[in-house]
Amino acid sequence: MVTIVHPNLEDTDAKMSARGVSVYYGDKKAIDNVSIDIPTKYVTAFIGPSGCGKSTFLRALNRMNDTIPSARVEGDIMLDGEDIYRSKMDVVQLRARVGMVFQKPNPFPKSIYENIAYGPKIHGLADGKDELDAVVEKSLQRAGLWNEVKDRLTDSGTALSGGQQQRLCIARAIAVDPEVILMDEPCSALDPIATAKIEELIDELNGRYAIVIVTHSMQQAARVSQRTAFFHLGNMVEYGRTSDIFTNPQEERTKDYITGRYG
């Protein structure tokens, strides 16, 4: 399978790069020989029909597939040129640098404060209560949630609305100051207003973090991302500027998918 990469990508600094990555579940190949560069300064969208392996590939980027006993990853994935599977970087360090937000909001059944403080605590990022307070406030502010929750930081995180919970999860992810944030369909459980808030938030965060977002919404991909990769049946079919992919796809399958001919 030839991967068509638009030749005219001017940025060469890649935060993460994958080379010849295949992922197996037992004997079943879910991702076949994917190579891609995730740029530092942009939002990258993964699109493609259900079951094509977007989540699988995303989870390979912070080794979340390690938690699935049958999963196996082949090929090289680099973070700042360091192989994440084979160098001395361990998963704890890797995941501190590559955060993840899941499809379904999954706040811990702890207070809002404790949800945010969790990461800084386990990574020893804050000395003392004052610093921790500051980190919590800053993270919630960046996630656009501070004003809504500042008077109820001791309430349970699970008592928030779905959209608030998802922003809490994003705040939790940025509290450890990662370099990359992976988001797997972060808006699929949310209504249009909450979705708009999250998209706004992604725009805010864009530039500060390398962001990868999996989405089923073409409009969302077009709105928030600058780079788009189209996956199909475990292959990455096409990758390029979002504007190019949506206006001028090189591959027939990409065209069919974005025009809604199959999905």
Binding site: V91, K110, G119, I122, T158
Partner: protein
């Protein structure tokens, strides 16, 4: 004529009704234009079958309880009954001998006077047996006819059958509840009698336990009925020593099994733990009394303690703790496994290690379930009898030294009930008061535990 025959009749007649009703319902279906009945033919069939079988079974059961009395009465009314003594033991044995011969359970009478009663017994048995069969059949036919006549194409047999089934299920659950209430009532009754002799204050707060079953029953020495040493022994052995063993081991094995063990190992270890729960407690009792207690005494001797007791609280508590491990671990296992995978992923994705995830997310989230499991385990431990009867002593000591001999509520219940005191002696009755306290405590623990579990379930739904 035994009840089995009546039951078989009920089932047979029910089956016949079932087939007849189904055939009838099918004819409705063929005759009717719409070809849509209010209920499937099977529901019509069940409706009739239940209306036949249930009244028959109810009557047969009642009859099997009433008939023996009617039979005895008719035998007593017969002239042959004149040979019977007026009352007493001999009268009873003669009657039961005659009955045994009449039913064929015994080859002949031992007491020749009873021979004359055999014939009247035989007659009465066959007469009432026939009456039973006839009435049962009659009831079955009536029920069948009545329900069969109600069958019509638009008859809502389905809802009727559902209703009957629900009533049967309700009855079944009532049996358990009523039994519990009955047990409680008898317990309360005897407890009140006991408290009429010894005041509850002396019983609940006294610190000396040593009832004398030979003492004068009318004027018991209340100072010998202080149950505090028993309560303390029970708590010390069941809730302290046993839990010091069971909580860490149970929790750690649950954590290992849910988070670290690979599925193949888990498939072996989990059933093995459950087998531990199935070991009869008397076997643990042997183990405690024959192996653990002497070992502990030898160790105490080796460390220079003079004259250690051979029946230490420690021995009973340790073995009880091992017995309780599966209760703690299986509840903890369930509640840790019930924490959504998303929670675990969320924590791991933050860069937490597995053990951090367990300590900071999984265990806190599962805590209500774990606590409930521990409470159930405690209530199980303090109600446990066999191990302490075999391994703990009967000496009621109020002591904090685990090497001392101690006794528990359950041990004393056994001791008092099997003691020499007559049944209405306060020493014997004290067993009921002890049982009542134990009942209340374990009931309270179970109640709280179930409430906690329920709250916990709601949190994730």
């Amino acid at each position: 004529m035994s009840i089995t025959v009546l039951f078989l009749l009920a089932i047979g007649l029910g089956l016949a009704g079932w087939l007849a009703a189904r055939a009838r319902a099918w004819t409705f279906r063929h005759e009717s234009q719409t070809s849509r009945l209010a209920a499937l033919p099977n529901y019509h069939a069940w409706y009739v079958a239940l209306w036949i079988a249930i009244p028959m079974i109810v009557f047969a059961t009642a009859w099997s309880m009433i008939a023996p009395q009617l039979i005895t009465q008719s035998v007593l009314a017969s002239p042959a009954a004149d040979v019977l003594p007026e009352f007493g033991f001999k009268r009873e044995t003669m009657l039961s001998e005659a009955r045994a011969v009449a039913t064929g359970a015994a080859p002949g009478v031992f007491n020749t006077d009873a021979q004359g009663l055999v014939e009247p017994y035989r007659n009465a048995l066959s007469r009432y047996g026939t009456i039973g069969i006839i009435v049962t059949l009659l009831i079955g036919f009536l029920g069948g006819a009545w329900s069969f006549l109600k069958l019509k194409p638009d008859f809502a047999a389905r809802t009727q059958v559902e209703r009957i089934v629900m009533a049967i299920l309700l009855l079944a659950s009532l049996v358990a509840i009523l039994t519990t209430l009955g047990i409680l009532a008898s317990l309360v009754f005897e407890t009140i009698r006991f408290f009429g002799m010894v005041s509850p204050i002396d019983f609940l707060f006294g610190t000396h336990w040593g009832p004398d079953p030979m003492a004068n029953a009318d004027n018991p020495d209340a100072s010998r009925y202080g149950a505090i040493p028993l309560f303390w022994g029970t708590i010390y052995i069941g809730a302290i020593i046993a839990m010091i063993v069971a909580i860490p081991l149970g929790l750690m094995s649950a954590i290992y099994l849910t988070q670290y063990a690979n599925p193949r190992l888990r498939a072996w270890v989990k059933p093995a733990l459950e087998i531990l729960a199935g070991v009869p407690t008397v076997v643990y009792g042997y183990f405690a009394a024959l192996t653990v207690a002497p070992a502990i005494r030898d160790m105490a001797l080796a460390t220079g303690l003079s004259n250690p007791s051979s029946e230490s609280a420690l021995a009973a508590g340790l073995v009880m703790g091992v017995m309780i491990i599966p209760f703690v671990s299986s509840m903890a296992d369930d509640s840790i496994a019930a924490v959504p995978q998303a929670m675990r992923d969320g924590s791991l994705a933050m860069g937490a290690t597995t053990s951090e995830t367990i300590r900071r997310v999984l265990v806190p989230a599962a805590l209500p379930g774990i606590v409930a499991g521990i409470m159930l385990a405690i209530s199980r431990a303090i109600g446990e009898t066999m191990i302490v009867v075999m391994a703990a002593s009967t000496a009621a000591n109020l002591s904090a030294n685990p090497l001392d001999s101690m006794t528990t509520v359950t041990v004393q219940i056994v001791a008092m009930l099997t003691g020499e005191g007559s049944f209405d002696h306060p020493a014997t009755l004290s067993a009921f008061a002890l049982g009542f306290v134990l009942f209340l405590v374990t009931l309270g623990l179970n109640f709280v535990a179930l409430r906690v579990v329920k709250r916990f379930r709601e949190a994730y739904e």
